[in-house]
């Protein structure tokens, strides 16, 4: 069995480390070692996007990233969005538009939306739908999620 490595990363702006096997899933490190359970596991094979996080500016499925690949990286999870207990504009927009129902896809969806906004998008509804298509939601039919992302873009350009 492989030796454990010391994984160190910047997580939501803070330095964190963990002793983990190199091929441990980043998802398990986030949830088990760091106790950041906002990031969810919906399928474990990169289909549903519930474990979406932003790693070095790239939207990734944390269930598919081995720890060793994240070494030294900068990680943003759902817990890093709110500032001093205040929801960020995208979270506020989700709340007001009804973008969260059961809430289980929501953290991943927020990360996908955050990534879209950071890229300067989405310009219109079609771009929003294409940009969020890697994240599955079974409750909403997506209208309100799309509306929330578009509203956040409009109100906080």
């Amino acid at each position: 069995m492989a030796e454990k490595i010391l994984l160190w990363m910047t997580v939501n702006g803070e330095a964190r480390s963990a002793e983990v096997f190199p091929m441990a899933r980043l998802l398990d490190v986030i949830r088990e070692d760091w106790g950041l359970t906002g990031t969810k596991e919906g399928c474990g094979e990169g289909e549903c996007g519930a474990c979406s996080v932003i790693l070095d500016g790239v939207l990734v499925n944390a269930c598919l990233i081995p720890a060793v690949q994240a070494q030294g990286g900068e990680l943003l999870t759902v817990e890093g969005l709110a500032r001093k207990g205040e929801l960020d504009p995208l979270q506020e927009a989700f709340l007001h538009h009804g973008g969260a129902q059961c809430g289980f896809c929501t953290p991943g969806m927020l990360m996908a939306g955050t990534h879209l906004l950071a890229q300067g998008g989405p310009g219109d509804e079609a771009e929003a739908r294409a940009g969020l298509a890697g994240n599955l939601c079974r409750c909403t039919g997506y209208n309100r999620i799309v509306d929330a992302v578009l509203a956040a873009r409009r109100e906080h350009p």
């Binding site: 949830r31 106790g35 950041l36 359970t37 906002g38 990031t39 969810k40 596991e41 919906g42 399928c43 474990g44 094979e45 289909e47 549903c48 519930a50 999870t77 759902v78 817990e79 969005l81 709110a82 929801l87 979270q91 989700f94 709340l95 007001h96 538009h97 009804g98 969260a100 129902q101 059961c102 809430g103 289980f104 896809c105 929501t106 953290p107 927020l110 509804e125 929003a128 739908r129 294409a130 969020l132 298509a133 890697g134 994240n135 599955l136 939601c137 079974r138 409750c139 909403t140 039919g141 997506y142 209208n143 309100r144 999620i145 799309v146």
Partner: protein, 741 residues
């Protein structure tokens, strides 16, 4: 005066926590001393278990191991019957049936150990489909593989030989997987002293009931708590009783240590319940002018290996089978059959989507064959207030179905677009467009005498701080129950929303307000809360602590200071007009219905046979809308599930097992697959609902599939009768010669 709470787009109560990622679902809890439970399952659909072999390389002595013989009470998941065992005891009746339970502190080791258990069994011939069950070559249940039969008859026998125009069709729907994004998970701590089961579930008292039989404990030693739940859709109605049973058995054997069983996606998809596959045969007779004269419907559901909830699903399907039509002669024969697949269970709509798909496809086919516009055929035959439905129920709802239909057709541009579609069809090689629609209803609350049988109770209590607490077993699973309950209680109490709390469903704290199913949470339980809150207010008024227009919170504080406690309960009472004869299947099948017309515009690619929904309009009459944001969210989400069922969601069966138990190849719609779903509400207050509200949770599952396949008929001229309508199925219909090659 401030806007009343009912009718306002109040923000979701638990929304802030969900958006911050702070909500703790079952698998998010950290519990000291936790064991991880896993389930060893049968690989065959039918057989006899001979022996269990524990393989090399696993420290078995470190494991807690449970088999059927370890069960202290009855080896059953108690529901309508106790036919379904928790663990196989000799006889295997379906693939994935639980045989053995293992628990260990190390989750990865537990997973590995599961693969090292070898089951020695004798395989027996299995019944793997509805059609095979009907052939009865193999008998797996009773004399003829039948769980339940229902017959509904209206009018004298019809003389089919004299019918001017007759149309016949057979319609099929496949299994559908719920795909709530949070897989099932449960944590139990169990010993003869008592049991605590916590987890992702819809119906705390179902689990409570089932654990009593399993463990042989009195009800007061069992406590079930719902944790935050990431979607249910019926999939967490009955199956959590099984998972709680397994976790409790492991904990019991492990001396009361907490045990968690959290399914991964594959196990959840392959092993838990799905929507019942169906086959519906319809024969209809029409007068030359399109008047519907007679309907003969045979409705069959595949119930899977155990009875579970199938009789009730069958009942709802049968009661919706003749659709929203006036018809003098109706005969509906419904039958749920047994097979050797995992039991099919509750899924949003509960049998009605299957039978409504059939009748709504049938009506459009019949219209085209009669040379009529499908809207005009329906206009001639839609139910009107005062008409009599299949069970003899007189329609009391003040609903104008032709007006609902006209609104949906106007919104989608039915009249304007269809001539354009015809011109588009003259250009070969281009996607073809079509508009289809369906008119339908969904009964709110339990079928027939079900609500009376349940006798649900909800309560409202005051606190020393002058706040109010709603007590109900109905669960928040994403639909907005706690928000709506808060609105209803605030309205009846006459207090601000902020003064109302909604208790977490915990059988040690809340009364049994029944299961969170059947579009009953707002309509039925909401009414109990409304009435309990009114009673509490009345107590305050009569005590002299509250004057009309006074501060309810201050009055509650004063009352509690003087008298100690402030609480009011309400028990279900049926609306006085409701009469139901369950033996004859006659009477008021539901106290009220939600009514709708859904319209879809599709494009069908004439090269790939891919069907896309380009526009979707959902018009419904749902009584008073309690929360416009949440109500629209329910409709939009239900429509999305209906679109998936119609076009892409196919459970592929291989030897009685789900062969595509992955999100990779079981395809639910993404944001890019769906158009904007446009929901519209008509509000006609229902006198027996809270503030006039009716149930809406299941309604949106009923309409999309027939609307979409009706649109495909307009686009391509084919009579598609099977769901899902994948490109392969459509190719076979359009180019039958290609199918032969």
């Amino acid at each position: 005066m401030a806007q009343s709470p009912i009718g306002s787009p109040v923000l979701r109560r638990e929304g802030g926590a969900k958006l911050a990622g702070a909500t703790q679902y079952t698998d998010d809890l950290r519990i000291p001393g936790l064991l991880h439970g896993v389930t060893v399952r049968s690989p065959v659909a039918r057989g006899r278990l001979r022996a269990v072999h524990f393989g090399e390389g696993i420290p078995w002595e470190e494991f807690t191991i449970v088999r059927a013989a370890d069960i202290p009470g009855r080896n059953a998941v108690a529901h309508i019957l106790e036919d379904q065992p928790c663990l196989v005891d000799g006889e295997i009746r379906h693939a994935e049936e639980a045989v053995l339970l293992l628990a260990h502190e190390d989750r990865a080791l537990a997973e590995l150990a599961r693969t090292r258990v070898r089951l020695d069994f004798e395989a027996l011939p299995a019944v793997l489909s509805l059609d095979e069950a009907l052939e009865t070559r193999e008998r797996v249940w009773g004399e003829d593989n039948t769980f339940k039969r229902i017959l509904i008859e209206k009018g004298d026998p019809f003389d089919w030989a004299a019918a001017p125009r007759v149309h016949e069709g057979t319609y099929r729907t496949g299994a559908q997987e719920h795909v709530y994004i949070e897989p099932n998970a449960m944590i139990a701590e169990a010993s003869p002293d008592g049991v605590l089961a916590r987890g992702s579930l819809q119906c705390p008292y179902y689990v409570h009931h089932s654990l009593q039989a399993l463990l042989g404990l009195p009800p007061e030693r069992i406590r079930v708590v719902q944790l935050d739940t990431g979607g249910g859709f019926g999939g967490k109605e009955d199956f959590p009783s099984m998972i709680a049973a397994h976790a409790a058995l492991l904990s019991w054997k492990a001396g009361g240590r907490p045990v968690k069983i959290a399914y991964d996606r594959e196990e959840d998809m392959a092993c838990t319940t799905k929507r019942h596959p169906s086959r519906t045969r319809i024969r209809s007779a029409f007068a030359p002018d399109g008047t519907l004269l007679a309907l003969e419907i045979e409705f069959i559901l595949d119930g899977g290996a155990y009875l579970t909830l199938s009789p009730v699903v069958l009942s709802r399907g049968a009661l919706h089978a003749s659709g929203p039509y006036r018809c003098g002669h109706i005969r509906i024969e419904a039958r749920a059959v047994a097979t050797n697949t995992p039991p099919h269970g509750a899924f949003r709509g509960f049998g009605a989507p299957q039978s409504l798909f059939a009748i709504e496809r049938h009506m459009t086919e019949a219209a085209r064959r009669l040379g009529m516009d499908p809207a005009e055929l329906r206009r001639k035959n839609l139910l009107r207030p005062g008409d009599t439905m299949a069970t003899g129920q007189v329609l009391r709802d003040a609903v104008d179905l032709p007006a609902l239909m006209d609104r949906a057709l106007a919104e989608i541009g039915y009249r304007e677009k269809r001539p354009l579609d015809a011109r588009l069809h003259e250009r070969p090689g281009r996607p073809r467009r079509g508009i289809g629609f369906a008119v339908f209803m969904h009964g709110g609350g339990f079928t027939g005498g079900g609500e009376v049988f349940l006798g649900s109770v909800a309560a409202v209590e005051g606190t020393v701080e002058g706040r109010f607490r709603v007590l109900a077993a109905s669960t928040e699973i994403g639909q907005g129950a706690t928000t709506v309950f808060g609105q209803i209680a605030a309205e009846a109490l006459g207090c601000p929303l902020e003064a109302v709390e909604v208790a977490r469903p915990d059988t040690a704290v809340v009364p049994n307000s029944g299961p969170t199913v059947a579009s009953r949470t707002t309509q039925v339980v909401g009414k109990l809360i409304f009435d309990a809150a009114l009673a509490l207010r009345k107590t305050l008024l009569e005590s002299g602590h509250l004057a009309e227009g006074g501060d309810v919170s201050a009055a509650a504080r004063a009352f509690i200071a003087a008298r100690g406690a402030l609480r009011a309960e309400s028990r279900y009472q049926k609306p006085p007009f409701v009469q139901w004869d369950d033996a004859a299947y006659r009477g008021d099948a539901y106290a009220t219905y939600a009514w709708a017309c859904y319209a879809a515009e599709v494009s069908a690619d004439s090269r790939t046979y891919e069907v896309r929904v380009e526009d979707f309009v959902a018009v419904q009459e749902v009584g008073r809308v309690v929360n416009p944001t949440l109500a629209a969210g329910q409709i939009e989400g239900g429509v999305a599930q209906g679109i998936g069922w119609a076009l892409s969601e196919e459970v592929v069966w291989r030897d009685g097992r789900m062969a595509n138990a992955q999100m990779t190849n079981y395809l639910i719609p993404t944001s890019a697959d769906l158009p904007r779903i446009r929901a519209f509400f008509e509000e006609s207050p229902y006198p027996y609902g809270p503030g006039g509200a009716k149930g809406i949770g299941e309604l949106p599952m009923d309409g999309p599939a027939p609307a979409i396949l009706n649109a495909v008929q307009e686009a391509l001229g084919v009579e598609a009768r099977e769901l899902p309508l994948t490109p392969e199925r459509l190719l076979d219909l359009v180019e039958p010669e290609a199918a032969d090659g």
